[in-house]
């Protein structure tokens, strides 16, 4: 187990290095640079800026500098926001995006599991059909449309919740709902389908014949087995949702990482692009590792780190 874990960490580090390298060259290949302005700067001033930001160095020096700074987790100053460093941007934006993401995740998992279970138990009854309709809606309506709709309905028309911004629980409700819709729908579908499958298994019949209560059967036997695909999904979803959604953050004026990431590309803010990509990769890879570990715990048939027998 320990060897397996260390091996995974090592392969993750290699993966991050590959990501850094690809991002670096893609980024340098983008037309335009941080100093491209509508009113173009005279060449001598442009040169002095390149010199100041070390953009005149050969690519391998710049690449080496990025690697070094990432290894030290000192991601450098932003080109665009003169008094901020990439570390500042992450430290400020990530907690916001993560909190919003957690709220959305909690909503999605609670809602999805409950609705999915009800749908499975009441297969083909009205409860199942309504759950189906809801999840089709959740999957097909893009989050920004839902966000605009919720904003208009709850903030403007009904005046129940704030239009936008971040700071209070009320302000977090609409963006969390908009973010949670799609994953809720997905989890509902996953839970329903796998629960129905599990409920038809022989061991459930055995359990029933032993006289175990229905609630017990569903929670301890059926649900546990039908959760695996949901966990896989929630793992990658968590990485996605924690690092922030550009559209939702933009619509609700939330100072999160999602906006920072997209804006950094538009601004050609090289250090921010690199820093956030690496940060995002670390989170994603760690969560995938966590999901794999959770598998072993959930399903004893999967034993990590052992040769298949």
């Amino acid at each position: 187990m320990k060897r397996y874990f260390l091996g995974r960490i090592l392969s993750n580090i290699i993966a991050i290095w590959v990501i850094i390298t690809i991002t670096f060259f893609l980024m340098k290949g983008l037309p335009g640079d941080p100093f491209t302005e509508e009113k173009a700067l005279p060449p001598e001033i442009l040169q002095s800026l390149y010199e100041h930001y070390k953009l005149n160095d050969p690519w391998y020096i710049q690449y080496g500098n990025y690697l070094k700074s990432i290894a030290k987790w000192d991601l450098g100053p932003s080109f665009k926001y003169k008094s901020r460093t990439v570390n500042d941007i992450i430290n400020k934006g990530f907690p916001v995006s993560a909190l919003l993401g957690l709220e959305a995740l909690l909503l999605a998992v609670t809602f999805g599991l409950t609705l999915g279970t009800i749908a499975a138990l009441k297969k083909n009854k009205w409860q199942d059909i309504s759950a189906h309709l809801l999840s089709v809606l959740g999957i097909s309506v893009p989050s920004f449309i839902l966000a605009a709709f919720l904003q208009y309905l709850f903030a403007i028309k009904l005046d129940l919740l704030p239009v936008a911004r971040w700071g209070t629980f009320q302000q977090s409700l609409l963006p969390a709902l908009s973010l949670a819709a799609l994953p809720s729908a997905f989890i509902t579908r996953l839970t329903r389908n796998h629960l129905i499958e599990a409920l038809n298994q022989d061991y459930i019949k055995t359990a029933r014949s032993k006289g175990i209560g229905e609630v017990q059967i569903i929670i301890r036997h059926a649900l546990r087995n039908s959760l695996l695909p949901t966990i896989t999904y929630v793992g990658t979803l968590t990485a996605n949702i924690l690092t922030g959604s550009f559209v939702i953050e933009k619509i609700f004026g939330i100072p999160g990482l999602g906006q920072a990431f997209v804006n950094s590309i538009a601004n050609r803010d090289y250090t921010v692009i690199m820093g956030l990509t690496v940060f995002y990769s670390v989170i994603l890879l760690s969560l995938i590792l966590l999901v794999d570990l959770a598998y072993g715990w959930m399903d004893p048939r999967i034993r990590l780190g052992r040769a298949p027998s």
Binding site: L30, P31, G32, D33, F35, T36, E37, E38, K39, A40, L41, P42, P43, E44, I45, S48, L49, E51, H52, Y53, K80, Y81, K82, S83, R84, D88, I89, K92, G93, P142, F144, I145, A148, F149, Q151, Y152, L153, A155, I156, K157, D159, P162, V163, A164, R165, W166, K250, I251, F252, G253, P255, Q259, A260, A266, N267, R268
Partner: protein, 519 residues
């Protein structure tokens, strides 16, 4: 965002248009939306509208733009100009930094010299090239001591220019020319003392900035606001919703835009204010492309456009159509140098041009713009007009903003849209970019010796009326050669709550809240 509009329209029809909510209790705190995080609060490094508009709250320069859009003496108590109109002597009034230190002429000299130090990263340093030896000092070929700035004593500053510039006093009101406290922290300049009507209280990045009245400001008696709350909300529709919900006192220009899809309704309700800017929306032509090299072809393209239709049906913000490059300014009336929608003349010129070029047919031509719905609609309309008038094929090309700028800089385009906002209230701000073929903002490949000599003559001309005549001639020449096709003069559109008074919005996009009050 298209779908956002559809939803809005559906709901607007179903539920009736939202009503105005009443403002909360009238504290003297004004709330506006910056719509983006200011990249810096260092006056030497600021290049964008957001930073500059916050800096104008925090600092005071030698002059400040008044309600009539002309520069008024601010920290300069007395200004004397030499006979040859190139040497200015400023006597400073007694004033204090927010930490109580006196503001001195040295605080100006030091900051300006830093901007022009070769290694100092100030993108707009070139705006100080007007100062004697400015460009040479920045290049490092002339020492800083030769620069035309000198603090004669703590309260007297002498500035010598390369040539007379009637717009210099106006330039002095811009953040780049503000004084800086000697103790400025290079990494976090926003923590340094400032000397403007307001002081920075809090900067919660990407979220909100708070400024408060500066009790030590030299004209604090004129400042009524207790402070301002500057939000950072990027989405224009959200901004409008917040305004409608009473969470903002101002929406739209110059810091943001009213969403175009809402404009017709808001205008019909008479709630939108339009304000002319010193900006022109035009198409620039790459004259180095063989089939666009002929000026008759370029003029034909320009004459065939029905600008009034574009302004009435697409942009819809009461813009004035542009039949010249330079818009109205306080001492300049925009010229009418050709006729709008002159299809007959356009067709005749086009035929002549084709013959002169020896072409059998007009090659497919590319019209580029940066991704934006309004630019797209304008381009589609013009594509249609050209097709109808000349039966030519125009292909539209859209690009991401930075990619677009890169293409323009490399002159890798045929016809491209441009929105130009002046740096100073002076025609030179529009005409100068086209002076030299290799000038970094020209990009049309056009150059004309007569145009150069007219601009050169205007530069040394002391008599203002003669200077104006020279500039008018230069503009006539430019439009006769048509390396650019003017379309319309840009307007600022915004909404403000009826209780907001005395906010000065300059045609250059500087919004001054110094004397504003809520009542």
């Amino acid at each position: 965002m298209g779908s956002k509009i559809i939803i809005f329209l559906l709901l607007a029809v179903g539920l009736g248009f939202f009503s105005c909510s009443s403002p909360k209790e009238r504290s003297q705190i004004l709330r506006i939306n910056l719509s983006s995080e200011p990249p810096t609060l260092d006056p030497r490094k600021a290049t964008d509208v957001t930073s500059n508009n916050v800096l104008i709250m925090l600092y005071e320069g030698l002059t400040r733009i008044g309600a009539d859009h002309t520069p008024k003496p601010a920290l300069a108590e007395k200004i004397t100009l030499s006979e040859n109109r190139t040497t200015y002597t400023f006597s400073l009034r007694k004033s204090l930094w927010s930490n109580g230190d006196p503001v001195t002429a040295l605080d100006f000299e030091r900051s300006w010299k830093q901007i022009l130090t070769p290694s100092f990263p100030a993108p707009f340093a070139y705006k100080l090239f007007l100062i004697k030896n400015g460009a040479a000092v920045k290049k490092g070929t002339v020492p800083l001591t030769e620069l035309g700035i000198r603090a004669l004593d703590v309260s007297t500053l002498e500035v010598t220019l390369e040539h007379p510039a009637p717009y210099f006093l106006e330039m002095l009101s811009y953040p780049l020319f503000f004084p800086l406290h000697a103790s400025i922290d290079e990494k976090n300049p926003e923590t340094s003392p400032s000397n403007g009507p307001f002081i920075l209280k809090q900067w919660d990045h990407d979220n909100e900035i708070r400024v408060e009245k500066n009790p030590l400001y030299w004209e604090a008696s004129k400042v009524t606001l207790a402070g301002l709350k500057l939000l950072i909300v990027e989405d224009a529709t959200t901004e409008l919703y917040m305004y409608e919900n009473g969470e903002l006192d101002w929406a739209g220009a110059p810091l943001s835009n009213l969403p175009t899809e809402f404009l017709p309704t808001l205008k019909a309700e008479g709630r939108v204010i339009t304000h002319p800017s010193n900006g022109t929306y035009y198409y620039k032509i790459n004259t180095q492309i063989p089939h666009l090299h002929n000026s008759k072809i370029r003029k034909a393209l320009a004459y065939a456009i029905n600008r009034q239709e574009i302004v009435d049906h697409i942009t819809q913000a009461d813009q004035e159509i542009a039949l010249a490059l330079v818009p109205n300014m306080w001492d300049w009336k925009s010229q009418v140098l050709f006729k709008d929608d002159n299809k007959k003349k356009a067709q005749a010129l086009f035929k002549e041009g084709i013959q002169e070029l020896g072409l059998l047919s007009f090659p497919k031509t590319f019209l580029s713009f940066n991704a934006n719905r309004e630019h797209q609609k304008i381009a589609q309309a013009i594509q249609q007009m050209w097709k109808e008038t000349f039966d030519i094929e125009i292909e539209l090309e859209t690009f991401d903003w930075r990619v677009y700028l890169d293409k323009l800089a490399k002159e890798n385009y045929q016809i491209a849209r441009m929105g130009w906002l002046a740096d100073v209230n002076d025609p030179i701000s529009f005409l100068d970019p086209f002076k030299y073929q290799d000038g970094e903002t020209n990009g049309t490949g056009w150059e004309n010796p007569h145009y150069i000599s007219l601009l050169n003559a205007s530069e040394v001309e002391i008599d203002l009326l003669t200077r104006k005549k020279l500039l008018e001639q230069a503009e006539e020449l430019l439009i006769d050669e048509m390396p650019i096709i003017p379309l319309y003069f840009i307007n600022f559109t915004y909404m403000k709550k009826p209780y907001v008074h005395n906010v000065f919005l300059s045609p250059l996009g500087i919004i001054d809240f110094k004397e504003a009050f809520l009542k």
